[in-house]
């Protein structure tokens, strides 16, 4: 397996054979001509022929790639008619009594240099246009026909660089991706790849010979890597990614904007889990109804010291504003166990999963917790924020939290700082919380079931230990019964219940959750539309 790194234009995966495109290298020889007038006439015929070809290309490409991308062929016609360019060629033929080919090549070099010496990236790229029209003239002079050979199967095109006249003649259905050695993100190849929405790697140092020609390859657009003769493992990985991408693309087209409602009218909310405000684009792209779990830990984990109230406030506010009135459920810090920040100076524990973590830290260090609560309540004036407390085991904990919340609110009021209506809920992720869920439901506005920890605590299986895989059952009936209990107890108290653990994204359980009456599933953004698909196809009464 060989790997090459290039600059990626489009994220995405392409899998196929490489096809090395080599230009018909046109060797130009200087030759003396006796009859300069007929040589001039030969040049003008070639010029007319080239202009005509470009006009044809323009007309075909307006239809295939659109007016904006086709405009380049009009520009090329203008270049071939540019007085300075034409005069320079004619001048060389006349004064030096040389062949038209030589005059074209010499003039082309001069104009090429004019652009390639420019400081501006965009203008430097135009040197490729000069080369392109000159090649076209030389081809017309030789009487050969121009064009890329017919491609028999879909391929990844590999070339030094591709001229627009070359790319436009490609049979678009046969092009999986582009890889070029030269060119920049402004080059025609890059622009075309964006128009066609196919992966392209630019500036990839790859040899244009038999070491790659015809070989199976993969482009990983996300990383900008080209794998030639990929290993089984990578191939399998990329095939899976590609399959997911395609599935996603299709779903996006058909399912965006639809309500999450079953055939018999049962509604469920599909929210997104995010770990960082950078994930917001994905949330909106995938049409999430809100954010069901915003993991606030990242604010703590990426810092050397406790994040200030202002730092936190600005992040929460951004998220609330971006979601524009849609619900944003922010989980208070869930540090401890596998998520450690040095400045918390937590003592080493024999069994950290059951140690000082999450809400237990908040209740022992009220100053840390209150800073976060203040930031959250202040941000609530800018959108629809809800707060969720992790690792709850008792009603007493919830009451203590509520006391602290009351203090924070009072402070804000005294300082005349605005805050909005904030729903407050708890994560149900301990068997104790499940058992107490009827009592807990009377204290809070909602439940969100954290199935990862709940499963680990209920089955007494450490998910990090691969030797326990044989004993582990993600669909263990104990877990499903617990979910049912929690949902029922929530509804009895008139509050809603959702699932924000990995199990929520398990499409083989979506129908079970609908049947149990789960009100909300919060999943990674990419899973929203696949779940919506199932919801739309389900008839709960017939289950």
């Amino acid at each position: 397996m060989l790997t090459f790194q290039g600059k990626s234009v489009i994220n995405g995966v392409a899998i196929g054979k490489l096809f090395v495109y080599k230009k018909g290298e046109q060797q130009v020889k200087r030759a003396r001509v006796e009859d300069t007038e007929s040589e001039l006439a030969r040049f003008r015929r070639a010029q007319q022929e080239a202009i005509k070809q470009l006009q044809d290309l323009y007309e075909t490409s307006v239809k295939s790639i659109g007016e904006a991308s086709a405009a380049i062929f009009e520009i090329h016609q203008m270049m071939l008619q540019d007085d300075g360019f034409v005069e320079a060629i004619e001048n060389i033929i006349r004064t030096q009594s040389v062949n038209a080919e030589y005059a074209v090549a010499a003039t082309s070099d001069n104009f090429y240099k004019m652009f390639s010496d420019m400081e501006d990236d965009y203008m430097r790229e135009r040197a490729a246009d000069v080369k392109d029209i000159s090649e076209r003239l030389l081809t017309a002079l030789s009487g050969r026909s121009a064009g890329m050979e017919k491609l028999s199967e879909p391929v990844i095109i590999v070339a030094d660089d591709l001229a627009p006249s070359e790319t436009v003649q490609l049979d678009k259905d046969k092009v999986l991706a582009f890889v070029t050695v030269h060119g920049s993100l402004n080059s025609h190849t890059a622009i075309l790849a964006k128009t066609m929405n196919i992966p392209a790697l630019i500036g990839t140092p790859i040899p244009l010979d038999d070491t790659v020609d015809g070989k199976p390859a993969i482009i990983d657009g996300a990383k900008g890597i080209l794998y030639v003769e990929p290993e089984e493992k990578i191939l399998a990985q990329m095939q899976e990614r590609k399959r997911a991408e395609e599935e996603q693309k299709e779903l996006l087209l058909t399912l965006r904007g639809k309500e999450n409602i079953t055939l018999d009218g049962r509604r469920i909310k599909l929210y997104a889990n995010i770990g960082n405000s950078k994930d917001l684009a994905m949330v909106l792209q995938n049409d999430a109804g809100g954010i069901g779990l915003f993991r606030s830990e990242f604010l703590y984990l990426e810092k050397e010291d406790y994040p200030t109230e202002e730092e936190q406030f600005s992040v929460y506010k951004t998220v609330a504003e971006t979601m524009a009135g849609k619900k944003v459920i922010i989980r208070t810090l869930d540090i401890g166990a596998d998520k450690q920040a040095d400045y918390f100076k937590l003592a080493h524990e024999e069994n950290p999963a059951m140690g000082l973590r999450a809400i237990r830290i908040c209740l022992t260090r009220p100053e840390v917790f209150k800073t976060q609560l203040r930031a959250l309540f202040r941000a609530s004036a800018y959108g629809n924020i809800a707060i969720m407390y992790p690792m709850i085991i008792s009603v007493d904990e919830v009451r203590r939290i509520k006391e602290m919340v009351a203090e924070v609110k009072k402070e804000l009021e005294e300082q005349h700082i605005e805050y909005g209506e904030v729903e407050q809920g708890i994560m149900i992720e301990t068997p104790a919380a499940v058992m107490m869920s009827d009592e807990l439901a009377k204290e809070v506005d909602f439940f969100s079931i954290g199935t990862n920890d709940l499963t680990q605590y209920t089955l007494a299986i450490d998910r990090q230990n691969p030797e326990l895989d044989a004993f582990y059952d993600a669909h263990h009936p104990a877990i499903l019964r617990m979910i049912k209990t929690v949902v029922d107890n929530a509804h009895k108290a008139g509050i809603w219940a959702g699932i924000c653990g990995e199990l929520g994204a398990d499409t083989s359980l979506t129908q079970d959750f609908l049947k149990m009456g789960v009100d909300e599933l919060s999943v990674s953004p990419g899973r929203i539309l696949p779940i919506r698909k199932i919801v739309l196809e389900t008839n709960v009464n017939a289950l």
């Binding site: 405009a71 520009i75 135009r126």
Partner: protein
């Protein structure tokens, strides 16, 4: 002779496409038309002339027209620049 000064606002400057559009427009006029930037001047009816100046956003260009239809040419150029560049 008519003259017009204009500062380019398009973030990409005078790139290939508007340059081509400008030339298409100018070909309709008899007048000799030039484009100049920082004292460098070029025939504005030539694509390599216009692009050779590599005009970027924020730079000022001077367009001049000389000939029978210079008046209308400058008017049309002004409208074009405001609309496209």
């Amino acid at each position: 002779m008519k003259e017009l000064k204009y500062t380019i606002t398009d973030p990409e400057g005078i790139h290939a496409r508007p340059a081509g559009e400008l030339i298409k427009l100018l070909k309709e006029f008899e007048s000799a038309i030039t484009i100049a930037k920082d004292g460098k001047s070029a025939d504005a009816k030539r694509i390599f002339g216009v692009m050779g100046l590599a005009v970027k956003q924020g730079q000022e260009i001077t367009m001049t027209a000389q000939g029978a239809d210079e008046e209308i040419a400058i008017q049309k150029i002004e409208a074009f620049l405001k609309e496209n560049l």
